[in-house]
Subunit: 318 residues, 2 copies
């Protein structure tokens, strides 16, 4: 049997799955931690691929990678959470082991492709996908194609400035939407407000987690409620910017914060989106919804990339 | 001879031109004011088309319109500067006179298409066009296609929020880049600062024009210098947002402010773009340049729309 091998390579986990080329049925799937004392991430990736694909013939490999890539050259320009993957010739290193076509993409971009091909975005020609978790990432489908730009660096929605001189972002710049509305941004704001003397049930905790904040908000803690409203307010402004540019018919949210605290964020987000948009025509028939693919979105995105390359019509049949 | 009829319908002028279908040579061209005491804009447009095309056979008509359009339906949703053009069935009204295919697009979107086909953007698959004049408009080419979105409302770059609670925009919202860095935004800031007692050579003038401000800046007036630097600073932030999303290989500026005061704005714009971008990879080989088509960009955009429809290969030959 011929299989497609797909992998989602993140800072925490490496996932690998094998799908039958002719039916797109799942054949095998495994995940392991990315970090290990004795092995480099590339060694772990290669051995996991071999483990997942014991007997079959590999037709092609695709990888969703948490980083900036030169997809055509197969080089990881920067993957902040994967040790040593800076200007890293990932494709060449894999080709030394597997003499098959290898494709790769940024994980959030491929998540957009996954939702479009297999998930909540089926049938939408213009789609925006945003993942709100530790950081904020995203991807877009424009006219039935993945938005990549000149060098494949497009679709970087998390680093949109919404508040010049605002909080410091993980990237070192200020006021990006990721610095305000991501899990990290939400936690930082809570810590900052508590250290400035704001009263909150959370100030009793030694270490605050995202779960603590969402629980506190549901129990009526005013600081916790405020931080989600603030996250939603700025997210709505950012969304209006994206919608003015891309005019999508669907916006899909993924990521831990969106799934665990979406109800605390989305109302103020929708209000602020409505207040920031220049014409209601942009919002008529615009769906705002959650990811359907959950944890599998990276693998499915890599699979979508292969399907697009090798059997664009297959997906219509299954 | 068969001709393409193209028109640029703005709030001030209606331009119409006829181009030979087989060679794309200009056959005839005229312009008239949009407003008139005795005629509606549609009457003026129809009579100008008849005047420009006295003898030839019209193969198709395309219009670049200053407004939000439902291009597929041929309806002008809103054209703030053209009297009566709200939910206006422009295509049907023209088809009553001319039984030929009729196409239309937003003027700034078509300007992007024009620069891509005929102007500064030839050969670039991912292009951003921005016009900085009374307002700020724009358009983008993504993977060799005009960025339109689900309803053709995409590419609305001027209403990107860069400063929440910032100055009021012409659209009624606050803090859009148009409210800060357009000619209108620049003038308003100068007037505001003068009324707050800021000293400037401009305060002696009864009525201040854009030309007055750029002259004052060139003569060393500190308020005039500041207002352009401020415009450039926020324009750079907006550009970084656009570049993160679209990753273009060229940004083309058109419009009166860009051409008359570009030198006063662009340095601070480039600095702020550089300071706001998350990776220098976005700026490597990114050209930032001026429009090559000037006043003709609307007509050329409408022509590009027809060429794309009817003779996509012709353009490579001429």
């Amino acid at each position: 049997m011929d299989v497609f091998i797909v992998s989602d390579v993140g800072g925490t986990q490496i996932r690998v799955a094998a799908y039958a080329v002719d039916s797109l049925e799942l054949v095998n799937q495994k995940k392991i931690p990315t970090k290990s004392k004795n092995q480099l991430p590339i060694e772990r990736l290669i051995s996991l691929i071999k483990e997942v694909n014991a007997d079959s013939s590999i037709k092609a490999i695709a990888l969703a990678v948490a980083g900036y890539l030169d997809s055509d050259a197969g080089i990881v320009i920067e993957a902040p959470n994967i040790r040593g993957w800076n200007n890293y010739p990932l494709k060449d290193l894999l080709n030394n082991e597997f003499s098959v076509p290898i494709f790769m993409g940024n994980d959030a971009n491929l998540a957009a492709l996954a939702e479009w091909k297999f998930g909540a975005g089926i049938g939408h020609s213009n789609l925006l996908y945003l993942t709100v978790s530790t950081g904020i990432g995203g991807g877009a489908i424009v006219n039935n194609q993945l938005l990549l730009g000149a060098k494949g660096l497009g679709g970087e929605f998390g680093h949109t400035t919404v508040l010049p001189d605002g909080p410091l972002c993980g990237c070192g710049k200020h006021g990006h939407i990721e610095a305000i509305s991501s899990g990290t941004g939400i936690l930082k704001y809570v810590q900052e407000q508590i250290s400035q003397g704001k009263s909150s049930s959370l100030s009793a905790l030694e270490k605050i987690s995202g779960k603590d904040i969402s629980q506190a908000a549901r129990q009526g803690d005013s600081l916790a409620i405020e931080v989600y409203q603030r996250a939603g307010f700025f997210l709505g402004i950012a969304l209006a910017n994206f919608v003015h540019i891309l005019n999508p018919s669907i916006i899909i949210f993924g990521g831990g914060v969106a799934s665990s605290a979406g109800d605390l964020i989305f109302e103020s987000m929708r209000n602020s989106l409505q207040n920031s948009i220049i014409s209601p025509a942009y919002l008529d028939n615009l769906s705002i919804t959650n990811s359907r693919l959950g944890d599998e979105v990276g693998l499915k995105g890599a699979l979508a990339l292969l399907v697009t390359q090798f059997s664009p019509n297959l997906i219509e049949q299954i």
